[in-house]
Symmetry: C2
Subunit: 297 residues, 2 copies
DNA sequence: ATCTTCACTACAGCAATACTTAACAGTAGG
DNA sequence: CCTACTGTTAAGTATTGCTGTAGTGAAGAT
């Protein structure tokens, strides 16, 4: 159908109005004259006049009547004005919300962290972020690095703090902290030559940290015979206490104070880099940007 | 300020959105895919896609995320969707209201009538209009023709039924009814030769009907000596009963039945044309159009 | 594995819109 | 009458919104 033929929206499902035009109407209702109203909106009187004429045309009803040299709203169209005021007010609210959302002060951040990061390294940063951004909906998933990376890639998470992965396709990676991995011998045993170490209770096969640990142990000439596995450092630590075997843990989760570690030679066998990963195309979540900034500062 | 520089509405008072774009958003929320939504609105997918992209750009926040080959609303922006739904719903209501207003089924009609029209000639037409257009706010002013004409010219009335005026500048005039003006003699007196008529109790000087009456009486050779005046036909009629003098009244207000009038020769001295007047520029009040139609049919 | 379908996007071209400035016109008050 | 103040109209320009066509990439079929 040629659009020029339908002079009236009578057929039509919906009036096509702009918020701008409605704002004009509201401004005119709030000010004595078109000129004042136009000034209050920062447009020329001409623009206002034309805009209102267009609004009138689209609605198909006369909205104004001349009174002397001014033009005033007819009171028949109080309903239209009420509508305009409602929409403009709603839009103002939306604008404010958007302004907040764009600066990351409201929004949602879905964060993944491995346990060490959540509990030890970034706990304080997270609590202070919560305090400073109370309106941000912060959701935390604690899981092993591999799972978290998958979720970031799938878009289920906005960002994650994980052990530095090998493949970083489609991800932005920023270093957060490097933590030492320390050997923990069963209760009562000394750490001697690497050939005497073991057997081991370690993180499960497939885990990134396990990989780092195995490589480090092999490099030092240790035999890596694994007799038990767990994702939970607590569990591994307890097994060493029970004498089941040796383990290697992030220092923060080893249950050893720094001084305890230092007195033992050779106890640090490796280190792991914790990194923050985000999808590369991430100009899209200001709240996540804010969170990232909070973590890195 | 060059408009191209302000990339973001951040500074900005108000987002400039169109109802159309919001309708797109709502449609997308209601349908599985963009294609369906576009079809439901009768536009191409391309238009919908571009429209939503534009909306996204103006809001400055990502609204969608890809899921496989579709694009779905992010749930972070539930607020935006709620806003859009509110505005679209309001606009739909407005559209309906406007449709009614344009066909004159809602609105306001300010009507002026001289007493004879309101009470005798058009009473039935008005009551049936009320019944058929219950949502039209009908306001009636009863006053002499001169006052009503002024009010129509000032725009205080949408239309009026008055005695056919001499000057009709800026007014549309349609004939409604012609009514005879009959002589009423004081009780007990016969209507003889015109020279014997009088003295008179008549409508006030300045009244249009008075003018018609005087002219007619003079034309018939009567002496027009006026001893009392009133705008109210009842009052004039009563004065004749009290013997104060003769009068001339619209037949309907004379208190005489048609048969009573007919038996007397010479009793009809003139007639007056009642007309409906409206401002010439009157494509602007559908309710008034409807009312006019009701009166004339 | 490739082919097809689906769901959306990019681009060109065109009409309509929304501004600007400048010139105009009607009214009120000296 | 002149002036100041309304709002409107005209002309020119940038922006917008649409259609149609031609992609692109993901899911599913053969």
């Amino acid at each position: 159908m040629p659009r020029s033929e339908r002079q009236f929206p009578a057929e039509g499902p919906l009036l096509n109005l702009t918020v701008q035009q409605l704002a004009y109407l509201v401004a005119v209702a709030d000010h004595e004259t078109f000129s004042e109203a136009a000034a209050s909106l920062g447009v020329t009187t001409s623009a206002l006049s034309q805009g209102l004429a267009e609004l009138e045309r689209r609605i198909g009803l006369p909205l104004f009547e001349r009174q002397g040299r001014r033009q005033v709203l007819r009171d028949e169209v109080a309903d239209v004005l009420a509508y305009a005021q409602r929409v403009v007010a709603d839009t103002r609210d939306l604008s404010r919300w958007v302004a907040l959302a764009r600066t990351g002060r409201v929004g949602r951040v879905r964060v993944g962290m491995i346990d060490a990061a959540a509990v030890h390294h970034l706990h304080d940063a997270m609590t202070s972020f919560r305090a400073e951004h109370p309106d941000v909906d912060l959701r935390l998933v604690v899981a092993p690095s591999g799972e978290l990376l998958d979720q970031v890639r799938r878009g289920d998470l906005d960002l994650a703090v994980v052990v530095d992965p090998m493949t970083t396709d489609g991800l932005d990676v920023v270093h957060v902290v490097t933590e030492p991995l320390v050997i923990v011998a069963p209760t009562g045993q000394r750490i001697g030559a690497s050939a005497t170490w073991g057997p081991w209770v370690l993180f499960p096969r497939g885990s990134r940290t396990r990989e780092l640990i195995e490589r480090a142990l092999v490099a030092r000439g240790a035999v890596v015979d694994v007799v038990a596995e767990s994702h939970q450092p607590d569990v591994l630590r307890e097994m060493t206490r029970l004498g089941m075997g040796w383990t290697v843990l992030p220092q923060a989760q080893s249950g050893l104070t720094e001084s305890e570690v230092i007195v033992e030679a050779e106890i640090v066998v490796a280190e792991r880099r914790l990194v923050l990963v985000r999808p590369t195309s991430r100009s899209d979540n200001p709240a996540a940007d804010q969170f990232t900034e909070a973590l890195l500062s």
